[in-house]
Amino acid sequence: MTETFREGVVVKPYERLSLDQVEWLDDASLRILAEPGIWCYNERAASLFKAHGAKVWEEKEKHSGCWRVSFPSGLIKEAVARAPSRFVLGARRPENQLLLDAEVPRVYFGSGSEANIWIETEMDDFVSVNDRSLTVRVPRFTELRGNTGLLSRAARLCDKLEHLDFFIRPLNIQDPGITPENHDVNKFFASLNNTTKHVQAGLTKLENLNDVVRMAELIAGGPEGLRGSPIISFIACVFKSPLQMVDDTAEKVFAIVEAGLPLVISSSPQGGSSAPIQETGMVAQINAEILAGITLTQLIREGAPVLYGSVPVRARLDDLHDLYGCPEFNQYNIDCVQLARFYKIPCYSTAGVGDAKVPGMQATFEKLFTHLYMAISGAQYIHYAFGLLDRTNSFCPVQAVLDNEQIGKIKQCLREPKVGPSVVEEMLVTVKRVMASSYRLYARHIRKAMRAGEVSSPYRFEAKGLEDRVLEKALDHMNRLESERPPHLDQVIVDRIFDEIPGLLPGLREATEGEEIRYNDLRAGSKLCKSKSS
């Protein structure tokens, strides 16, 4: 059987660091892991490290339940070398599978974060105070609290965005019935029921893992189906920077790896507070944290599929919040991509975050700055790329639509050059034919390339006159996408999930049924209109 994967874009990576510099950073990370080593708050992990040759001692005086771990470089190197370079992330639709290969710079973009706020956009007409005959359309924004309904909407929209390759829930669910005990099953169900792309999320409570895995098995056709093509994967931020391995996240790492599912070992130090602000210090430290996390996964189970998850950010120096859309962010991140490539582990990276609070010029600048740069780096799996505003605090669906357009252009811009002997021969024939024609115009000879999608289109949301109507047009486009049929799971599977998995909000099932009815009504309505008009 031929396996199909999303195309992504294979780039020729821009490398900021020389090989010497990569090796110096690698060596610096190994030296950090040896001295001062890490502060490990999980006993199982500390014991496992000790059993494999790390020097481990309990830090009794200052902390309770803290073990200092000093890693010999050989232990890290051997463990990291066992991590697979190539694996598949599955999806409900086989053509949405992702092929992650550390040695192929195939770039995929997806959503991310777990913002509390959903920003709704609507256009409103305003009259000039100076000339009552003049009106202008302006976007107005409303903040809504994230809930399962909005997360479902986000997943449905993201399913329709052609340049979004994977779905990480961009919204935190805060419905009245959501508790830490049922948070995971509801967020995974809202996602899986509304997108056919790969679904990835963090795990709120370890105790929920079995229910989440069972839900995914029901959808994937059983335990083997899920392991063969894992439609879900997890993110584990196992380090609290600087260099502290967190107890409950380490337990989650054990459980996820033992469950045979892929995960991201992610670290997100802030340059200027929890890591040095200078490039060398930041990158050496985050790399040390990620290597220690990956080592844990490989000591738990050799060959466990793991992504090198680097989210280094810089502090704003006026308020110490994260600063994403700045040159240092790109520098830190591209260095990490190079290190992941050096270790032959697929890289989970970051782009598309900024300080802008609403869609507009600032958001476009900040996002393009990182979308383009990180794509050029050749990171395999770039998250946070769709719809985030106000750093990672808000998710705005119309911004996701704008990001989709931007990322589409970037993918087209960076695609492999189509230059080769047969193309040259074909081109020479065309040149001769055009030069022999009366007007010497190439226009009619580009039709084949145009039909094959090789020629890019103008910006999708451009206006014709002296007006900026980008948001209005993006909103229209979003409304069209949202009126398409939702990609819900089969009713039989939904019923089984609701029978077997405790804690799911009944509203999610009712909403699913309601959406199907609304969609069918809409279709019936449009057919009625068509038959009336004809």
Partner: protein
């Protein structure tokens, strides 16, 4: 091949934008099959009446293409390919059209004015007008004013199209109109201007009859001029 079948094939190939057999066209698998040039030659050799070829083959094909363009199924290169087919067909047919009493929609002299070598827009207009059934006399680019005036007189043209891309050469259009005036030719000809720096206001300022933002507008304006 029956006459009707031949005409339908001509219309089909206009829609496909296939001038010669080696053209690929829009649909798959047409490569190598006779296209507009080969079909027209066959029609001429067989001495078929050019009237139905123009009306039911070429014009009908262009109507289909126009519809596709309006529905956004076709883009400019598709329109140009089809218009170029009609232009080539008209070149093959022209000696026979007069004999058969089929007249063009009018003679249209077109030029990019002196000092300006940018002729892409002018070429597109030229192709499209030819495709729309006008007899186009294309003088090329960087054409001296006196040559334009001479051509208008020589061909007894009904329409003159002037183009310029540069802000420094657009003023030459005004000089051409002045020269037409001086030569007593202005009354008998409609002058249409176009090109990136030109505008409705500029056209009025220099005394042109119309400003055309693109080839499609030029065709619409000409239709209105003819019906008016």
């Amino acid at each position: 091949m029956q006459e009707q079948e031949l005409i339908e094939k001509i219309a089909f190939n206009v829609v496909q934008g296939r001038i010669e057999a080696e053209d690929e066209g829009f649909d798959e698998g047409l490569d190598g099959q006779p296209a507009v040039t080969e079909l027209l030659r066959e029609a001429v050799e067989r001495g078929l009446d050019p009237g139905p070829i123009v009306l039911e083959g070429l014009s009908k094909g262009m109507e289909v293409v126009g519809g596709k363009f309006q529905r956004e199924e076709y883009l400019i290169p598709d329109m140009l390919a089809s218009a170029e087919c009609v232009g080539v067909a008209m070149d093959i047919l022209s000696p026979h059209l007069k004999k058969a009493g089929v007249e063009s929609r009018g003679k249209f002299v077109i030029a990019t004015v002196a000092g300006d070598l940018h002729d892409i827009g002018k070429n597109i207009v030229s192709i499209m007008l030819k495709g729309a059934g006008y007899e186009v006399i294309d003088l090329g680019a960087d054409v001296p004013t006196e040559r334009i005036v001479k051509a208008v007189s020589e061909y007894q043209a009904s329409f003159l199209g002037l183009s310029a891309l540069l802000t420094t050469t657009m003023r030459v259009m005004g000089e051409v109109i002045e020269e037409l005036q001086k030569s007593g030719l202005r009354e008998g000809i409609k002058v249409l201007v176009g090109g990136a720096p030109t505008s409705e206001g500029f056209a009025k300022q220099i005394g042109a009859d119309a400003y055309c933002k693109d080839a499609f507008q030029a065709i619409d304006i000409l239709k209105n001029m003819s019906s008016g």
